[in-house]
């Protein structure tokens, strides 16, 4: 036995891990090259929202808003839409987890970068990037979950988690703002073309502006529904309203706009100068001058296939609702539909048509549009609408690529000729679509970028904030700039603050449609219960044998949406609450579940 013990002792290295090129954390940060790769990884958690297909792209927002429906039932947006989401199944979207993973990685980077041998200027830029990204990931959490634990350190798996706490909402916004300020001082205004996508000072200012806009909004700013939402130690997570927040938001937005415009950013216009081309190319031409922060998605064509009607080889997945279609203005800026007569709890909605606008749902176009926006026999619903409508929506009879789209029942893109994949509303999304991409052969793909911040949004952010802070006067020029670029006339002058607010809300709905803004806008304006607790509609996809078939053009209830008070903020996954009960479930979720 003794001999054998000795034998084992002499072979004690036998079980040591033999060397290979595996790296430790220390080795990673000991070399500039590897440190940079670690930073690259921190970027990789930016959500691929362009796919809009929800779970993996972390974008249930478009389809959970009143502007869109996904045809499939499995995406989380549909769980949300029927009100079936809860603290257990919310982890499907990975919203909470992914952003905290990203925050952890940014924290590891910031903790260890000090030891990396490299020149100090470059190091400071990297610190700026990681600081910005950490702030952005915090913002992604705050916009869903409200007050969250701010994590600016690396958590060890061995630490005690049971006392984790949320930080009050204002501290969360202030953290984001402070970090944006810090990062802005370290980052350049713009990037060279090979570094597009890296954080800039402009990106910091844009995030700060949006964070302050959210901070000022009714959902977060002294929301009376949340006044009793108190931490265990007595700290109120939603303090009383502060009216000056709007002015802070306006100042930050203006600061961002001015800084950007001084540094070569500006509203994008197409070379042809045509509003339709401008609004189309704004989303298909990468890194245009309006892009403040975005993500290069390469040529992966998943999103093109999601959007494309199935008869073209796509999946007809992303279906704008009749509600968003109705919201687009006429070409002259007039409002086609001023409201609805609702029956049966909104299941049947009859539009109140503004006859002065010239809009009608009766009959079909007699002639092709000379500008190519529509062809004859197309429903009059789609005639003479504003250019952004034609750039954003695939509708029945629209000419696309090689032929007219046929969403009616027996059409090439209709229900009868599809199985899993069909348009459930009679519309598909066309914003972001590249008309040179062939979905059947998967050829002709171009590079796609997803824009998190663009200057156009900042214009509307400013207009919204300044209108609330000071009244409409200073808002006009920024709203009108957006409208004029889209080929629409100026707003009527002499609007009250309330009227201006309505105009801005409407402008955001159209200009920023399908860019994830609508979901959060409805929430922060506290209109979710009004807009999304009712039926959404499409056309009658189960009928129709030709483009101008009346049976198809019947508004048909597509889904009864459920939106209750608790739905304004997302629940925290139950596992985290179980581990750390002091985290506190989001308002109204706990009572509803018990």
């Amino acid at each position: 036995m003794a001999i054998a013990m000795v034998t084992i002792a002499s072979c004690s290295d036998y079980l040591e891990k033999t060397p290979d090129e595996d790296m430790t954390l220390e080795q990673t940060f000991a070399q500039r090259k590897y440190t940079e790769q670690f930073l690259t990884q921190v970027y990789s958690y930016l959500p691929e929202e362009i796919h809009g297909n929800d779970d993996f792209s972390r974008n249930p927002f478009d389809a959970a808003a009143d502007e869109m429906e996904l045809v499939w039932t499995y995406p989380y947006s549909n769980v949300m839409n029927i009100g079936a989401w809860n603290p257990t199944n919310v982890s499907r979207t990975s919203m909470w987890l992914s952003n905290y993973i990203a925050i952890r990685k940014a924290n590891i980077f910031l903790k260890n970068i000090e030891s990396t041998p490299m020149d100090e200027d470059a190091k400071q830029v990297w610190i700026g990037e990681a600081t910005y990204l950490r702030a952005l990931y915090h913002f992604f959490l705050v916009r869903c979950h409200g007050p969250i634990p701010i994590v600016d350190y690396v958590m060890s798996p061995n630490m005690t988690f049971k006392d984790l706490q949320r930080d009050p909402i204002n501290e969360c916004f202030d953290f984001i703002v402070k970090e944006c300020d810090n990062a802005a001082n370290l980052l350049p205004a713009k990037r060279a073309s090979n570094e597009f996508g890296r954080a800039t000072k402009a990106a910091c200012l844009a995030l700060k502006a949006r964070a302050l806009l959210y901070k000022a909004s009714p959902l977060f700013n002294g929301n009376p529904d949340y006044s009793t939402y108190v931490r265990k130690d007595g700290v109120r997570l939603f303090p009383d309203a502060v009216s000056t927040y709007w002015a802070d938001a306006a100042a930050a937005s203006l600061d961002c706009i001015n800084y950007c415009e001084a540094n070569g950013y500006g509203l994008f216009t197409a070379s042809s100068g045509k509003p339709f081309d401008t609004y189309t190319q704004l989303f298909t031409s990468m890194w245009n001058k309006e892009t403040i922060f975005g993500r290069n998605m390469g040529t992966w064509n998943h999103q093109e296939r999601l959007m494309s009607p199935n008869g073209f080889g796509g999946w007809s997945g992303m279906n704008p609702t009749q509600e968003i279609v109705d919201a687009f203005e006429m070409a002259d800026g007039s409002t086609p539909i001023t409201g609805y007569i609702e029956e049966n709890g909104g299941e049947v909605k009859t539009p109140i048509i503004n006859t002065e606008s010239g809009y009608t749902e009766i009959g079909y176009a007699a002639e092709d549009d000379p500008n190519g926006m529509w062809l004859k026999k197309v429903s009059n619903m789609y005639v003479n609408r504003e250019p952004r409508f034609y750039a954003s929506i695939h509708f029945n009879g629209k000419y696309w690529q090689t032929r007219q789209i046929q969403f009616y029942y027996s059409g090439k893109d209709g229900l009868k000729n599809s199985s899993l994949d069909y348009s459930s509303t009679g519309y598909c999304m066309s914003k972001y679509s590249d008309k040179n991409f062939n979905c059947a052969t998967l050829t002709g793909a171009s590079i796609k970028t997803w824009t998190y911040f663009r200057l156009g949004e900042l214009y509307l952010n400013y207009a919204e904030a300044i209108n609330e802070a000071e009244g409409p006067a200073k808002a006009y020029s920024y709203v009108n700039a957006i409208r004029n670029r889209a080929g629409l006339p100026n707003l009527k002058t002499g609007l009250t603050t309330d009227q201006m607010r309505e105009c801005i809300h409407h402008e955001r709905q159209i200009e920023l449609c399908f860019e994830t803004h609508r979901y959060f806008d409805c929430n922060r304006w506290l209109i979710g219960e009004k807009m999304n607790n009712t039926w959404i509609h499409g056309l009658n996809i189960g009928e129709g044998t030709k483009i101008n078939d009346d049976r198809f053009f019947i508004r048909t209830a597509r889904e009864k949406r459920v939106f209750e008070k608790k739905h304004y903020l997302w629940p925290i996954p139950q596992t985290d609450i179980s581990i750390a009960p002091t985290l506190l479930q989001s308002p109204f979720w706990e009572t509803a579940a018990e």
Partner: protein, 1041 residues
């Protein structure tokens, strides 16, 4: 530790595990045993007189056995007789109380007490081991009588009756303590999962499988090469394997040479296989009708007119209104398998040898397109070669050389079995025709690739070539004369190499959608995909392993005291030489020592201590080596002098207690104590190009306190023999506590940013497992020469999770603690809602916004007034059965023999759920529908008293398509697993042609199954089926020269 130096050094040790050395070993042990016996017998001998004993010796087929040596046992130079051509003998004896011994090469030795008898007729059984009373144990063998651990064995002749290329498929129900489940019948991938005494951990639960003492894949061993199979179950039997023993051990030994003239055996068999339980889908007319019904149920207009329905029904327009029976289009009813083995066995005192060469092939069930100039049907062909040579260099020094190898060739269609079955599920009978009028594959734009026929026949093919080499070299140095009696040194070295080459010649099949006849009267098509060319891609996989062991053995008797000891060092290195990343390429290493001491007093009181002390690279320095001891005691009451219960010829009580370990969390996880960075992960694109730049991510986070799982096992066993052991019963009751189960931390909040993939492992789980296993064997030969036997086995194991690292669930019903490992969770279905009133009076079901009559009604398990995901609770049993049993019998008379074998399992649940039970899972017209759904669905407006399944909806039903008891079936089954008829010709005339005998046999496998699942095989994975199981009728011939 180089082997070449070891020949003369103190390293020379022999591997006593191999039966090859047993004869020598036995000489020693039996000698000492017999000395002991003599002392005992001498005391009782009181009477001496001369007499003659005579009789006939028959083989187990009832034929006279000539050439058998008959002599008085344990008496040197005693008179001997040899049986004549009629198997008859006559022997003079001096003492009517002696024992006489019948020996014949290749047959089990028989010892009979004379007891004043004049005529003693015996039946000698051919032995797979001529040492039938020897049991293979860890790193050695023991006499069956002295075994105190819980070990079960199966006779190879029983396994031989089941024609399968994977041994695992023949074990279920054959021996106590094993639970198996064969989930697929796909050639080459049909091996059953095997568990010893169920599961006791939710990490790695596979048993350690040793072939000739070396970790090897048992499913590559040909049945014809196997000498014995032992299953080690309790701590006494497995502690010696230390950190690898916790899940039980299966020991397979291969055949060795037996001294004598060369004996040649040729066995060849051919089986017809019939595929069972193909998915039974509804036809086109039924499908279209159901589609209309779905739309009606959802308040929509019908999709198909009566005129169109008629076309589906009468198939007057089969291209535009098809009704395709896809199953019939891609699957044949019958296929075949065959196997042939030729072995030679013989030797002298100096050199013994065994050689076997075999060929086996098994064909698949896929139909082929005869216009292809290549095969696409699944096929698995294997050539086996195994040889074993034992050389006595001197009286004390002997060598053993074993070589095994096999070459395999496998062919499969260009698309995987998963893809093919997914195609069957996806594609409705009316989706499109199999082929269009012009012969091209039918299809539609959605689900481009799902034409099942094209997947199977038009997608090219893939092949794999596998080679496997198993080399073993051993030496034994008997030190009896040099040092002390009973001492020997053994050493053994093994080298294995596996190589697989995968070649895919895949083709994208062309797809056209047929649009009918156009205005000009010509068939028109929409080309959806151009046919591709056969592509070529190649991949491979290879690994090697070296094993070294060196042992010192001692075995001696001192009067009534019999002692033995064993002390061993071993190490093993396994390298995945073509690993996909550098870490997986690093050698997997283990080393350790093991020891055993046994004590036996007068064959009455038995004691044994076993230990393993070994290390694993999984753990940090200082926590690497674990000591795993066990102690066991036995009492053979029937050997006591006072034992006078003649009815009970054997009564042995055994008990053991000890610890065994497990160092594997899940396969592929390594060095659990190290934190590593993941390179080239989380890549990202900067700039305006398409090039991803590499990222570096945090990888697995290490835990510096990690160590092995410990299984603490207790076992109590009882061995009983009645009527001179004609009836024997073995029962074992066991209890196991598995502590420190290796799992990933689950109680880390997301806020920490540690995702489940990188979370550190810890010794965080605890589980209990207890149960009972046993066997009953009855064997009898009537004076009229009819031999009959009956055998039954039972294994029952029930486990439960004691602690895990799950965060506390909101409601107790969700908790996994207290439930079985892998316990299914789901909803409790209370049936189907019959009326709107019933819905209004029931708790709100939150899965969908509108619940309607015909939807599933669930129980509000947690009583909170609503039904939602918090109402999930444990339902049914795990898919791995808790109880498995088998029973069978044999009858033989003269040359005829007949045997049968049933096996079955219970306390298991099957979920008949997923697509095809869930109509229109992905929307209208998607997915096939099984008849069983169609025939038992809720129909609005009809009498639904017998409806079992919910109403049809035109899209995914988030209320109905949940895991619930509605879809749960009792997974119990009883199978007529095997019957066999045989006849042996051994007429003297055969001798002229050098033939000893010829046996003809026919056997049937998987002949009938009684179960509740019906739709798919009850052993299949839950769901709606994959590659089916087969029934085999197998004809064979065995010739001995």
């Amino acid at each position: 530790m180089e082997i070449k130096k070891n020949m003369t050094g103190s390293w020379i040790k022999q591997n006593i595990k191999k039966i090859g050395w047993l004869s020598l070993f036995l000489c020693i042990s039996i000698q000492s045993y017999s000395e002991n016996e003599q002392t005992k017998d001498n005391q009782s001998i009181t009477q001496k007189k001369n007499s003659t004993v005579s009789g006939t010796v028959l083989d187990d087929a009832g034929q006279p056995l000539p050439g058998v040596t008959v002599k008085i046992k344990d008496v040197k130079n005693a008179a001997a007789s040899i049986t004549d051509i009629n198997g008859q003998y006559s022997l003079k004896i001096e003492d009517s109380y002696v024992e006489i011994q019948f020996t014949y090469l290749g047959y089990s030795t028989i010892v009979e007490k004379v007891n004043s008898r004049k005529i003693i007729n015996v039946v000698m059984k051919e032995s797979t081991s001529d040492l039938e009373d020897i049991v293979v144990v860890g790193y050695g063998v023991q006499r069956k009588e002295s075994v105190v651990g819980s070990i079960s064995n199966v006779e190879v002749s029983k396994i031989e009756k089941l024609p399968t290329m994977a041994i695992a498929n023949a074990l279920g129900g054959q021996l106590p303590g094993i639970i198996t489940r064969q989930s697929s019948g796909e050639p080459g991938y049909d091996a059953a999962a095997v568990y010893i005494r169920g599961l006791a951990t939710w990490g790695n639960s596979t048993p350690l499988i040793l072939v000739d003492g070396v970790e090897r894949d048992m499913n590559l061993i040909n049945t014809a090469e196997i000498q014995s199979i032992s299953v080690l179950k309790d701590a006494s039997a497995t502690a010696i394997y230390g950190v690898q023993g916790a899940n039980g051990v299966i020991l397979i030994t291969t055949k060795e040479g037996i001294i004598g003239q060369p004996k040649v055996t040729l066995r060849t068999e051919y089986g017809w296989q019939r595929g069972l339980r193909y998915p039974d889908y509804i036809n086109g007319y039924e499908y279209a009708t159901l589609w209309n019904e779905a739309r009606t149920n959802m308040g929509k207009a019908a999709a198909w007119s009566d005129e169109e329905l008629q076309k589906f029904k009468d198939q007057s327009d089969p291209y535009l209104y098809p009704s395709v029976d896809w199953v019939n289009e891609i699957l044949d009813k019958d296929t075949y398998l065959s196997s042939t083995n030729l072995s030679v066995n013989g030797g002298t005192e100096r050199v013994r040898y065994f050689v076997n060469a075999g060929y086996s092939t098994q064909n698949g069930l896929y139909k082929e397109d005869l216009t292809n100039n290549y095969a696409t049907n699944a096929n698995y062909t294997r050539y086996n070669l195994r040889s074993r040579t034992d050389i006595n260099i001197t009286k004390d020094l002997s060598l053993e050389v074993g070589l095994g190898g096999n070459v395999q060739k496998r062919i499969y269609p260009g698309q995987s079995v998963y893809s093919v079955w997914e195609g069957l599920r996806q594609t409705s009978p009316i989706a499109f025709p199999k082929v269009n009028p012009d012969g091209s594959s039918g299809g539609i734009l959605a689900y481009l690739g799902s034409n099942p026929w094209a997947k199977v026949t038009q997608s090219g093919y893939s092949t794999s070539d596998r080679n496997n080499l198993q080399a073993t070299f051993g030496a034994r140095w008997d030190l009896s004369t040099i040092v002390t009696k009973g001492l020997s040194l053994n050493t053994r070295f093994a080298y294995d190499h596996n190589y697989t080459n995968y070649t895919d010649r895949y083709k994208e099949f062309g797809i056209k959608k047929y649009l009918g006849v156009n205005d000009e009267g010509v068939d028109s098509y929409q080309l959806l995909r151009e046919e591709g060319l056969l592509s070529y891609s190649q991949a491979n996989d290879a690994n090697r392993s070296q094993y070294f062991e060196s042992a010192i053995n001692y075995n001696n008797s001192f009067g009534l005291h019999n002692v033995s000891g064993m002390f061993l060092y071993n190490n093993r290195e396994f390298v995945n030489v073509i690993a996909s990343n550098s870490e997986l390429n690093l050698p997997y290493r283990r080393q350790g020592i093991a020891g055993r001491a046994t004590y036996d007093y007068g064959h009455r009181y038995l004691g044994e201590i076993n230990f393993g002390y070994n290390g694993s690279e999984q753990f940090p320095k200082g926590k690497r080596y674990g000591f795993f001891p066990s102690v066991s005691l036995g009492w053979i009451a029937s050997n006591e002098k006072f034992w006078d219960i003649n009815l009970i010829s054997n009564f042995k009580l055994r008990g053991s207690y000890g610890q065994v370990g497990n160092d594997v969390a899940t396969s592929g996880t390594r060095y659990l104590y190290l934190t590593r960075m993941a390179k080239n992960s989380s890549n990202y694109i900067f700039g305006n190009g398409t090039t991803y730049v590499p990222g570096i991510n945090e990888g697995q986070i290490g835990n510096e306190d990690i160590t092995w799982e410990v299984a603490t096992k207790a076992n109590i066993g009882l061995d009983l023999g009645f009527f001179y052991d004609e009836l024997s019963i073995q029962i074992d009751v066991f209890n196991e506590v598995r502590d420190g189960i290796l799992i990933q931390r689950a109680s880390l909040p997301n806020v920490s940013g540690i995702n489940s993939g990188t979370a550190p492992y810890g010794n965080l789980g605890k589980a209990k497992n207890s149960g009972i296993d046993g066997s009953i064997i009855f064997k009898k030969k009537t004076p009229g020469g009819i031999f009959y036997s009956f055998q039954g086995n039972l294994s029952f194991a029930k486990n439960s999770i004691e602690t895990n690292d799950d965060p506390i669930y909101k409601y107790a019903n969700q908790s996994r603690v207290g439930q079985s490992i892998n316990q299914p969770f789901g909803f409790v279905a209370l049936g189907l809602f019959q009326t709107q009133e019933e819905i209004d009076n029931s708790p709100v079901q939150e899965f969908t916004s509108v619940v309607q009559p015909g939807d599933i009604k669930y129980k509000d398990v947690n009583g909170d007034g609503v039904v939602n995901s918090y109402d999930e609770t444990a339902i049914g049993y795990t898919r791995t059965p808790e109880l498995m049993a088998g029973f069978g019998g044999t009858i033989a008379y003269k040359g005829f023999d007949f045997s049968f074998f049933f096996n079955g399992a219970t306390r298991t649940s099957f979920f008949l759920d997923g697509t095809t039970m869930f109509p229109f899972y992905g929307g209208e017209g998607t997915f096939n529908v099984l008849h069983t759904y169609y025939d038992n669905r809720f129909i609005v407006g009809a009498d639904n008293t017998n409806a079992k399944y919910p109403l049809v909806t035109d899209s995914y039903s988030s209320n109905n398509y949940l895991t619930s008891t509605l879809w749960m079936k009792n997974g119990s089954y009883l199978r007529l697993k095997n019957i066999e008829f045989g006849y042996v010709f051994n007429q003297p005339i055969l001798k002229k042609y050098w033939i000893d005998n010829i046996r003809l046999f026919v056997n049937g496998t998987n002949l009938y199954c009684w179960d509740y699942v019906k739709v798919v095989d009850p052993e299949a994975d839950s769901g709606t089926g994959t590659y089916p199981q087969t029934r085999t009728w197998n004809f064979g011939l065995q010739v001995k020269f």
